[in-house]
């Protein structure tokens, strides 16, 4: 009898334990519900470089970086897609790819006293809000990521900008710390941009702060000194440039603007960018970067397509090649150019970009000598950047020789000898060239700050000389240019309509409503 009881007890115990295991439907054995903080970093850095390029398929049409081979394409006409989930990648990535991942990374880094990782987390958060508000205007900031909500109200752009500055302040404070568990090895394992170098991230935070503050150029409280002070603490040369080098072996880790992803094959360089580089806007001085960045055509002459006009009117021999320099889509492994390769190191923010910002701030402040200095450093740095980018991918173009570089930067029509002769047009159009093909959001912000066609009172020339809207804009625009992109359709127009209605985003011309940051006043 005892034996039987013993046996029954054993059976009961075995079944009890096995049942418990079997019934655990809460802890997923296949996917982790918790990971080490730094493992969350790489995907976010990937999207930091990549997400704007997704939306660039549309933004680059407004800024006339590229235009469609087909005539009258909606986005070329400053239009938008009313019922499509288009141009919503930054929205997706800031709220979802960053989203709760970034919330968790921030909390973990703080709890584990990893101040360097925490600083990077604050940079990512600030960068995300800045991109998002620069593209969409009013966005969800305060109520974002609140799990108790199912409806999310929008915040004004001013609140978004204040939040960006606050977060960058926190980033700077944390990145200055060396105590606690600050560990370059731990951060470096997943840091695709700076390999764990805290000091470079600190420079990045200052640079992004300078860039953010310069967006206030139309505001009464614009403070060029603050812009300059921040940039002076940031990048000191191209060596500090932030970017992500794509692995380029499978779909998800290839450059989105690279040939194999095939997202830009129906786009061509515009007449606007060609005019800025072939001497049209610089009194005949041709830019040595032209043949390294832009594409030629079968007859050997580079041409630009007028935005909205399409390529149908070109003869076969004169039709511009695609952005990779070929008539048709090149196959995997074919050498391409500039930052358009499957394996390019794609920039997030560069030294040249920041020097142009410094030049603009100094110019606005009235310190033209400082402006000229920053301006010439910026152009020289970008010429080096073009060489490095092409060398890095084994690109088709030859390197720009030191002589060619020297000739260009010493040409008075490009870089005036006397600081007094420097113009806003020169600063802004050279910045446009340096950011062409990658700095999409910043370029669009620049152009909107100058309302696309503002005239520089000092020269009576358009700041963006040669920029022309298509004759007829998209029907819903009521002849006004685009100033924002509507929030992501599937996220907001389907699931958050009340909040959209509150900010007037249901209007058919909402995308033409000028944003707070570019309006004059406060």
């Amino acid at each position: 009898m005892k034996k039987i009881y013993g046996l029954m007890m054993t059976v009961c115990l075995i079944s009890a334990t096995s049942c418990k295991k079997y019934l655990d439907v809460n802890t997923n054995p296949n996917s982790p519900q918790d990971v080490t903080a730094n493992l969350l970093l790489s995907p976010m850095l990937h999207w930091m470089a990549t997400s704007p390029v997704y939306d660039a398929r549309f933004i680059s049409r407004y800024t006339q970086n590229f235009t469609s081979t087909a005539a009258g394409s909606t986005w070329d006409l400053q239009g938008y897609d009313p019922a499509g989930d288009i141009a919503g990648q930054l929205w997706r990535d800031v709220y979802f790819s960053f989203g709760q991942n970034l919330v968790n990374m921030t909390n973990k880094a703080e709890a584990e006293q990893r101040w360097d990782l925490l600083g990077v987390a604050y940079i990512l958060k600030a960068w995300g809000w800045l991109q998002l508000t620069d593209v969409h205007g009013e966005v969800i900031v305060k109520e974002a990521f609140d799990q108790s909500r199912t409806k999310f109200d929008y915040d004004s752009q001013q609140i978004a900008y204040d939040e960006v500055k606050r977060l960058l302040g926190l980033a700077i404070t944390n990145l200055q710390r060396t105590d606690g568990a600050v560990d370059a090895t731990f951060l470096g394992k997943t840091d695709l941009v700076y390999k764990g170098d805290r000091t470079k991230w600190l420079k990045f935070a200052y640079g992004l702060m300078g860039l953010t503050l310069n967006h206030y150029s139309n505001k009464d409280n614009y403070n060029p000194d603050e812009v300059i002070a921040n940039i002076d603490k940031s990048f000191v040369g191209n060596v500090d440039d932030a970017g992500v080098k794509y692995t380029g072996l499978s779909n998800d880790d290839r450059n989105f603007i690279g040939a194999t992803r095939n997202n830009f094959n129906s786009f061509r360089q515009t007449a606007f960018i060609l005019n800025l580089m072939n001497g049209g806007a610089t009194g005949g001085v041709s830019d040595p970067r032209l043949s390294r960045m832009l594409s030629s055509s079968p007859d050997g002459t580079p041409r630009g397509v007028v935005t909205g006009a399409g390529t149908a009117s070109f003869t076969a021999a004169q039709t511009p090649f695609n952005i990779w320099g070929y008539a048709t889509l090149p196959i995997v492994g074919t050498p391409t150019k500039y930052v358009f390769d499957d394996k390019s190191k794609f920039p997030i923010m560069t030294y040249a970009e920041l020097q142009f910002i410094k030049a603009e701030a100094a110019f606005r402040k009235g310190d033209k000598a400082m402006a000229l200095d920053a301006y010439s450093k910026a152009i020289a740095a970008h010429i080096d950047f073009v060489n490095t980018s092409n060398a890095d991918i084994g690109g088709t173009p030859t390197q720009i020789s030191p002589t060619d570089k020297d000739t260009f930067v010493k040409s008075p029509l490009v870089v005036p000898t006397a600081a007094a002769n420097l113009t806003l047009t020169q600063i802004m159009t050279q910045k446009y060239v340096a950011l062409w093909g990658w700095g999409f959001v910043e370029t669009w912000m620049d152009m909107r700050r100058y309302h696309y066609t503002d005239v520089d009172p000092a020269t009576n020339n358009q700041v963006y000389v040669g920029y022309v809207f298509p004759t007829t804009l998209y029907a819903d625009n009521n002849a006004k240019p685009a100033y924002r992109i509507r929030p992501k359709y599937a996220s907001e127009y389907v699931n958050n309509v009340e909040a959209l209605n509150a900010i007037g985003a249901l209007a058919r011309d909402y995308h033409t409503k000028e944003m707070w940051i570019t309006q004059k006043g406060n």
């Binding site: 439907v25 809460n26 802890t27 997923n28 996917s31 982790p32 519900q33 918790d34 990971v35 493992l39 969350l40 970093l41 790489s42 995907p43 976010m44 850095l45 990937h46 999207w47 990549t50 009313p82 019922a83 929205w91 997706r92 709220y95 979802f96 790819s97 989203g99 709760q100 991942n101 919330v103 969800i140 109520e143 974002a144 990521f145 609140d146 799990q147 909500r149 199912t150 409806k151 999310f152 997943t190 695709l192 992500v244 080098k245 794509y246 692995t247 499978s250 998800d252 880790d253 992501k488 599937a490 996220s491 907001e492 389907v494 699931n495 958050n496 909040a499």
Partner: protein
């Protein structure tokens, strides 16, 4: 067993039962559904990030209450039998999977409690043996089933819940969406806008009908009114023949294949593309809901105005009230006689059979086969039954076989 109580009944009434049942059943969520999990990412540098589905730490099992009454009757020495069941089932706190909110929440999809549905239905089974003799038997079994499901609530104020996998139609909007008050098996899509009298609204600029830009459902329902399965079995000595007829009445089917071909100009429906026409409807000119709406008078020739076809709503290809009668299968079986089997000890019994499946289909459906489902059952929810897009009909099958029992 009321026949036990009234003994005199048993001459006609072999047996009779009355049943009533009430049941409450809880159903749990999918495993691991309450907590978001990390996925390894394939973007540059690898690493981890959350999948699309967010947390819901308050997720609880859904609960179904069902009440049914039924009777099982047998007459004439079990030669005739009748089972009837009437039921009503309400499900509350139903778990809605893949619910969407603003991305501001940080995830894309959520599992929420909060939907409610109500099902009412009747099931009748009639069994009979019209002929029963030493050599010849004939048995009939008929099943009748009718069920209607209504969505009575959806969680968190969402207006439509759907399974995105059922939106399998390229550039199309149609899917198995449900709305409060509608059938659990409705269809939603960018259907046509109509005035209060139900007339099509026509754009005064294009002359084409206007479509909704959000998914709407004017009442399409894939649920059949009823279905019947009829089995007849004849046995004569060693030969038996049985066949199952499948009959269905009502229920809508979307002919996506035809819509697709029409948009491409490949359907025979586009043969009259050179014929000018005026689409019947009223112009959306502000007077569409007045007493005298303007009748559409804009002439369209589809051959030169391709969007006549390319902008056509799926709505035109939803066929209402699809009925069918199909011969599901026929089995002819011959069992080898005992006197042959007795000559050896190895095989106990053996038979030869011929089976035919889906030998004929009679239906008012204009596509290939209305029994289709665009997805497998694994998509969940009400599935894609009745969404016919590129589906092949069930093939006619003929099998010969030998069955041996050792």
């Amino acid at each position: 067993m009321f026949t036990d109580a009234f003994k005199g009944l048993q001459k006609i009434f072999t047996s009779g039962k009355l049943r009533a049942a009430y049941a409450g059943v809880g159903k749990d969520a999918k495993p691991y559904a309450y907590k978001a999990t990390y996925e390894s990412k394939t973007t540059t540098g690898g690493g981890y990030g959350y999948g699309f589905t967010g947390d819901n730490l308050d997720l609880k099992p859904e609960f179904a209450k069902s009440f049914e009454i039924g009777t099982e009757l047998a007459f004439l020495n079990n030669r005739l039998g009748l089972d009837v069941t009437v039921y009503r089932k309400t499900t509350t706190d139903q778990i809605t999977n893949d619910l969407r909110f603003s991305y501001g929440k940080g995830y894309v999809l959520f599992n929420y409690n909060g939907a409610s549905t109500r099902n009412k239905g009747i099931e009748i089974t009639l069994r009979g043996t019209p002929i029963k003799s030493k050599n010849l038997n004939w048995e009939i079994v008929a099943n009748f089933a009718a069920d209607k499901g209504i969505v009575t609530a959806l969680p968190a104020g969402v207006s439509e819940s759907y399974v995105s996998d059922t939106n399998l139609y390229p550039t199309g909007s149609i899917r198995n969406g449900v709305n409060v008050g509608g059938s659990t098996r409705s269809l939603t899509g960018f259907f046509y806008l109509r005035n209060n009298d139900g007339q099509l609204l026509i754009s005064p600029t294009t002359g084409l009908p206007l479509r909704s830009t959000v998914n709407i459902n004017p009442g399409y329902d894939r649920t059949p009114d009823y279905s019947i399965g009829l089995t007849n079995t004849f046995t004569y000595k060693n030969v038996s023949l049985s066949f199952l007829l499948d009959i269905r009445k009502g229920g809508d089917v979307f002919n996506g294949t035809e819509h697709y071909l029409t948009r491409l100009g490949l359907s025979t429906l586009t043969l009259d593309r050179n014929t000018p026409r005026i689409i019947t409807g009223v112009l959306q000119d502000g007077k569409e809901n007045s007493a005298n709406p303007t009748k559409n008078n804009i002439v369209i020739t589809p051959n030169t105005q391709n969007n006549y076809y390319t902008d056509m709503s799926e709505e035109l290809f939803i066929q209402r009230n699809i009925n069918w009668v199909r011969l599901r299968d026929v089995i002819l079986n011959y069992r080898l006689p005992d006197n042959i089997m007795k000559r050896q000890n190895f095989v106990k019994s053996a038979s030869i059979f011929v089976t035919g499946t889906d030998l004929f289909l009679i239906t008012n459906y204009k596509g290939l086969d209305p029994v289709v489902s665009g997805n497998t059952a694994a998509v969940g929810g009400s599935g894609a039954q009745g969404i016919d897009y590129g589906n092949f009909p069930i093939p006619v099958g003929l099998n010969f076989g030998v069955k041996v029992t050792l």
